[in-house]
Point group: D2
Chain length 150, copies 4
């Protein structure tokens, strides 16, 4: 299975007064896993870190759609959560990132998918994935996530 | 159309470095619209504010699933966004909240749905909606949202 | 006393697992009170809303220093907190904003001060307050806050 | 100098539309450094991790006061910031945590201090530091931070 596992630290302030990680904060944890996997950080692109991003990039990644199933509450821990991440679909100018998020103890807490569109910063319009981007993304291609409750 | 329109203030810190409201912060705006509509705040329940909630309640609302489509970037404004909110489905122990979020200028920025399960605080198990809850929720019942990109 | 009182809504996600508004979130509430008071929102400046701001402004306000005393825990409420806000000091290129934050029930929960520097966006350097800015700020000038625990 | 250096990851959503880490988010980074240093995480206490904490603990740490000087804007990076952390003062029931926060490139971006009070969960009242807590904290005792702009 061509997935990567990304450790993502929780923060104390991710919890709300129910004592669990808040539903919106869960998407922030996934965002950090996505950035760690795909964004090239200034230097040369390497492995899957092929998506140019950040405020000064010539193109950026737009989140077009998200779907998330919360399967178990996530308690605070100083240990990071484990996000298994893969690509569920590659389109002309878009891709779908799939995730399973597990607590430090190994409980599956959430399944999610994010649709990303590549956008040219100057025009604000979608642009096609380059061959290099496509090749890198294909190295993580797997079946898309199946949601139970749709 | 039995919808309510809830004004929700943005915050400057909801924006990320792209200059738009961050994708996860958008769910926080929807959470505030949901709470304003359904949570009884200490005093007696009234209208649609029938869901007991908060850390001291005997039952609470668990977010089981969310789906959101981002249709236009949301810029900062000191004016609140307008969230149109309705109920798309009522189950035995659960409900689906549907939303359309518009910028202060009236642009449709996001469509979303949240599946909520009623949970008994003591046992942590789902509990059936009461008749009062059901009656109040039915006053906002409408067709569920249709997502484009599924 | 030349103060303004600004209502600022809490959010459910401002709370952490202790069931109170998190210490850092408290500064976000103050930021919203500050913006509501001083930032001109696109249109013409009026009253105290004289500080140009936002990502497209030709100058912006930089937070140089903050001090905050937490006097009582702030519980969640759907009612907004009340932030009393005034100017404690006006310098050549800087100002000090002072605050008292009260719970919806009227409990004094925090006293705080923020030092702001006016910065020219193009150069990134401090710039002097204009006469218009100075006049508007002076309308809220009062003694600076006295902190107990220094 | 008895300091510890704690790496703390930034998050993309810590930035605001100015493209820098938001002033309140900076305190969240410091909170994470403080927790990593002092909170015992379930298991046995070790080294400086002597402060019981979290929602189920019999006592907890209350933030009573914070002071922070922002010395340089903090840009986004996938590399963590470095927080140098020490104890500036130990009282009967309280302590002062001091910090210097540096960007991944080594720029000093903030100096800060947090006053913490030990509180008994049952009564909500301050309690004296234990001998074990005191001994551990003394291992990090150094001169308190000197702020420039007071």
């Amino acid at each position: 299975m061509p997935r990567v596992r990304v450790p993502v630290p929780m923060r104390w302030s991710d919890l709300d007064a129910y004592g669990h990680v808040n539903n919106a904060a869960m998407l922030t944890l996934l965002e950090e896993a996505r950035i760690a996997t795909f964004w090239s950080d200034g230097g040369s692109a390497a492995g899957t870190k092929v998506l140019t991003a950040g405020p000064t990039a010539t193109s950026f990644t737009l989140v077009a759609r998200q779907e998330i199933e919360y399967l178990a509450p996530l308690d605070y821990s100083q240990e990071p959560v484990a996000v298994d991440l893969w690509i569920g679909r590659i389109g002309g100018a878009s891709l779908e990132v799939c995730y399973e998020l597990r607590s430090p103890a190994g409980t599956l807490c959430a399944k999610a998918a994010t649709s990303i569109v590549m956008v040219e910063a100057a025009s604000g319009r979608p642009r096609r994935l380059t061959e290099d981007e496509r090749t890198a993304l294909e190295s993580l291609l797997e079946d898309p996530i199946e949601f139970r409750r749709r």
